[in-house]
């Protein structure tokens, strides 16, 4: 696919890296020459310096025969205009813009404003919102390492670390059914010491395994209880950093949780105190030990470090953990740091790019992929694919899951049919228009999975 990416910032660069690796033709446009050069040295892409919404610059970037424009500069307006230019002058089929201002994305205006008659933006993404939602789900499911929504949230994929002395640990997977007769769940993948194990009936879960399972949202907590001692729902949160993410998260959670938010800048702190009603806004540094102690850090359920500075986040998290915070979640943009900190003092490292890229990948993927989530820092992937065709033209329709030859490392984990969740078993038969959730242990095999679900046109 030919894709033009406008903006070589963190989002743009990560996206370019992911897409170039999947053999797309990527051209990145940015006004910053140095950022482009650094990117071109690293990736097999073309770069064009210039303002990304000027027609001439876009032509240079090859917009004329591009399949997709992704505008992710830090200016909403440039992104929107780039989409407009691409639509009006070059008829680019898919246009994605990063739009941050909540006013634009307000449902009151969004539908009327962003359509092909006015502002032709096909997909709007708000990385901050995506990351906020991601963190919010983690807060709402205590004990989970990762929570991913499928089919508009009725089905969820949850990653967690199994702990000994829980009912299912040390048992074979097939006993899952006996443990919970009324609950349908399926283990999609197990990682033991960073190596993927393909889950089968006789696989035994051990202490410390990272288990990904899929179940209807209402059953998630029950299943989690089988794998680790259930944690009490969180109550007291301390959030470090009142930037875009910190603010959005606090706003979303302040009615249900007891939140203290620490912000360094005077002005921003004043702004926060104005906009937030229940949360306590503290002006100060997140790495200030006295401040943390004064605010009873040792009684805190979760400490979230969400500033835009990786180093501050890591340091503040380590400090909070040592001062007694029960759990720390840390925003780490630099993938190298994320690798370094894994398994150290930080309970959950959140990669903002990974969350954002996931939400974009679905649009790039061929066929009817509804959503894509990358897991384990991009190594694995979970896809939601809509099945089309009939018994003749499709390799999956009308076949039982046990009969489908799925590519190595791929698990067909669950189906959603007419809004109902069906956890996949050997005898489950796939029908057309089902949403199938597939877990791919190694991203390399994603192509094979897409091929499996592709409708074979020669039969038409």
């Amino acid at each position: 696919m030919k894709i033009v990416i406008v903006g070589a910032g963190q989002v743009g660069a990560t996206l370019a890296e992911n897409l170039a690796r999947e053999y797309n033709d990527i051209t990145v446009v940015d006004i910053n020459d140095n950022a482009l050069r650094a990117l071109q040295d690293r990736l097999d892409i073309r770069t064009v310096p210039g303002t990304g919404c000027y027609p001439d610059v876009l032509v240079q970037a090859g917009i004329e025969d591009a399949d997709m424009l992704v505008a992710v500069t830090n200016s909403d307006e440039i992104n929107i205009i780039a989409c407009q230019v691409a639509y009006s002058l070059f008829h680019t089929p898919t246009k994605i813009a990063r739009v941050r201002a909540p006013n634009y994305t307000n449902p009151k205006y969004k539908k009327l404003l962003f359509n092909d008659k006015h502002m032709p933006v096909d997909v709007m993404i708000t990385p901050e919102q995506v990351v906020t939602d991601y963190i919010r789900k983690l807060v709402e499911q205590p004990g989970a390492l990762q929570v991913l929504d499928f089919a508009d949230g009725i089905i969820q994929l949850v990653g967690l670390r199994a702990v000994k002395d829980s009912p299912l640990v040390g048992q074979e997977l097939r006993t899952l059914k006996e443990h919970m007769p009324n609950v349908d769940a399926r283990v999609a993948a197990i990682y033991r010491k960073d190596r993927a194990i393909f889950p089968e009936g006789d696989t035994v879960i051990e202490d410390g395994d990272e288990v990904f399972f899929i179940a209807a949202k209402k059953n998630i907590r029950k299943v989690m209880g089988e794998l680790r001692r259930l944690e009490k729902p969180y109550h007291r949160l301390v959030i470090a950093g009142g930037g875009n993410i910190g603010f959005r998260l606090t706003k979303a959670l302040e009615d249900d949780y007891n939140i203290k938010i620490i912000e360094y800048s005077d002005k921003r702190a004043a702004y926060l105190s104005e906009k937030l009603n229940r949360a306590v806004v503290l002006k100060g540094s997140a790495t200030d030990q006295e401040l943390l102690l004064d605010e009873n850090i040792d009684k805190t359920d979760v400490f979230l470090a969400l500033t835009n500075d990786d180093e501050v986040n890591i340091m503040a998290s380590l400090l909070a953990k040592r001062l007694g915070a029960k759990k720390v979640m840390t925003l780490i943009s630099n993938p190298v740091y994320a690798d370094l900190m894994q398994g150290g003092g930080i309970d959950i490292a959140i990669s903002p790019q990974q969350a954002t890229t996931s939400s974009l990948l679905a649009h790039v993927r061929r066929g009817d992929t509804v959503s894509v989530h990358s897991l384990r820092r991009g190594a694995a992937e979970a896809l939601e694919i809509v099945v089309h065709g009939d018994k003749k033209s499709s390799k999956v329709v009308g076949r039982a899951i046990g009969d489908i030859k799925s590519p190595p490392g791929a698990t067909l984990a669950a189906l959603v049919r007419n809004g109902e969740v069906l956890v996949a078993h050997h005898d489950t038969v796939i029908e057309a228009e089902d949403h199938v959730i597939v877990f791919v242990v190694d991203k390399e095999n994603t192509k094979a999975v897409e091929k499996l679900f592709a409708v074979n046109f020669s039969f038409f």
Binding site: R37, D44, R46
Partner: protein, 482 residues
């Protein structure tokens, strides 16, 4: 530095290269010659050495970094030139010494076209074909071909592609992916060669000569299958075809791509480098023709045809000959050799300093004059209304400086080896600009100069083809320091 990865790539490329020694066997078979044995053994040796490099490192993963790119390219050229010499050394017919075979092979791969062989007409066809093929492989750059064929190089491909591309702007890509860019270039190259061969054939060459000469024409090489070069055919049509394809191959291949892609011929004229190139060719041709006529060397029609052909052949750094231009009045041979320093356009198969660099240099010269008149003016250097980064301009100054320094160093070395001044000067120019024929003792071939001089010229040709810095960087201590 990743020696293992480098060895893996190098070994693999060598194995691929060994395959090109099989095509002459087909030629030998067609003409019933006894040279198959030679090529087979050369093939076996090359393949084996390639395997030796590749096999121990075949599972070593890792991407090529910028530094590895230099090593791969330079070693590739060195190793390839050496192994390319094998058939010439092993065969009975030219039966060259190692030194001569190496010289011939480097001259072929660098598209110089200087030869140590006389009596080409009597050599087996397969050997002749092999020489032409060497030039063809060297023309667009073996690395470009390799990157086009082997997508496995990935980003590493860019690192080595960059080290081989001629011209000041090394990062320009035609398409987002390097494999595709190389592919596009390779296709244009292949297309030009086929059309050229067809035209030669229609103009009266036999099939073998048509293909052989199309190889060396489009590669801007200058090897011929006859001692008398293009003059052998004594045909105005062939001279015209040859001139046309030399001019076309001397243009930037990226320009060909844009013209083909957008179907607009106007792109050629819109490009300042191409325009300058055409102007220079025109002015040079007019001066040459007029001088030939007024000095009484030829009549009108001869002056025109010989003058134009030789000018194009020398200035694009091809080096085909239809006549002994070294016997022309003294001004002309030096004038033509001087123009060969300008060479062809950046991104073409030609040699020399490249018109694009000269253009920027000239603008800088003019800027200094301007500055004397308007001391407060801000004067960026612009090509196509876009500012050339200072960094590029600096690099060009350094390039030209080092180019000239190396040029005179080589002249001195050749003088030391006992050659006379005209021979030394012209041989150096011919080697460094990848031109081919020189003046004086090296006017027809390089058989009679000593082996020290040949060594010097071998390095000259490689330096010229790899645009000096790529090769020189390997001789600096910084490069090897970890």
């Amino acid at each position: 530095m990743h020696l293992a990865v480098t060895a893996r790539v190098l070994g693999f490329l060598l194995m691929i290269f060994s395959l090109t020694m099989l095509t002459p066997i087909i030629v030998a078979w067609i003409y019933g010659e006894q040279t198959s044995q030679t090529f087979l053994s050369a093939f076996a040796i090359t393949l084996l050495v390639g395997l030796l490099f590749w096999f121990p490192a075949k599972n070593k993963k890792g991407e090529l970094r910028t530094r590895d790119g230099f090593i791969v390219t330079v070693f590739f050229w060195l190793v390839l030139s050496t192994f390319g010499a094998l058939p010439l050394m092993l065969s009975e017919a030219p039966n060259l010494s190692f030194m001569d075979a190496l010289f011939e092979s480097i001259s072929g791969l660098t598209t110089t076209g200087a030869t140590v062989i006389s009596g080409l007409d009597d050599l087996p066809k397969s050997i002749l074909y092999y020489r032409q093929q060497l030039q063809w492989l060297g023309g667009i750059g073996i690395v470009v071909i390799a990157v086009a064929i082997l997508p496995m190089l990935g980003v590493g491909g860019m690192q080595i592609y960059r080290t081989e591309t001629p011209g000041p702007m090394k990062d320009a890509k035609l398409t987002p992916r390097i494999t595709e860019t190389a592919n596009v270039l390779f296709k244009i190259y292949l297309g030009l060669t086929s059309i050229c061969a067809l035209a030669y054939w229609m103009a009266g060459m036999n099939g073998f000569d048509a293909i052989s000469h199309s190889f060396s024409t489009v590669a801007i090489g200058g090897f011929s299958t006859h001692d008398a070069s293009i003059g052998f055919f004594d045909s105005g049509a062939i001279m015209a075809i040859c001139s046309f394809f030399m001019v076309v191959s001397g243009l930037n291949f990226a320009l060909h791509y844009h013209v083909l892609h957008n179907r607009k011929l106007g792109y050629y004229w819109a490009d300042p480098e191409a325009r300058m190139y055409i102007y220079l060719l025109l002015v040079g041709a007019i001066i040459t023709c007029l001088y030939l006529y007024y000095s009484g060397t030829y009549d009108w029609s001869q002056s025109f045809s010989q003058g134009t052909f030789q000018l194009i052949s020398i200035m694009t750094t091809t080096g085909f000959a239809t006549t002994e231009f070294n016997a022309w009045p003294t001004f002309l041979p030096f004038f033509l050799l001087f123009l060969s320093f300008f060479g062809a356009c950046a991104g073409s198969t030609g040699g020399g300093i490249k018109i694009g660099r000269m253009l920027i240099l000239a603008q800088q010269g003019i800027r200094e004059i301007y500055r004397l008149v308007h001391p407060n003016a801000l004067l960026p250097i612009k090509i196509r209304n876009r500012k050339i980064p200072e960094r590029v301009a600096d690099a060009i100054w350094a390039f030209v400086g080092v180019y000239l320094a190396i040029f005179y160093l080589m002249v001195l070395l050749l003088l030391a080896s006992g050659l006379d001044y005209v021979t030394a000067w012209s041989a150096t120019a011919a080697a460094l600009n990848n031109l081919g024929p020189g003046l004086g003792a090296v006017a027809t071939n390089y058989a009679d100069i000593g082996s020290f001089a040949k060594w010097v010229l071998c390095w000259g040709m490689l330096l010229g083809r790899l645009e000096i810095f790529t090769l020189l960087v390997l001789f600096t201590p910084t490069f090897w320091k970890n």
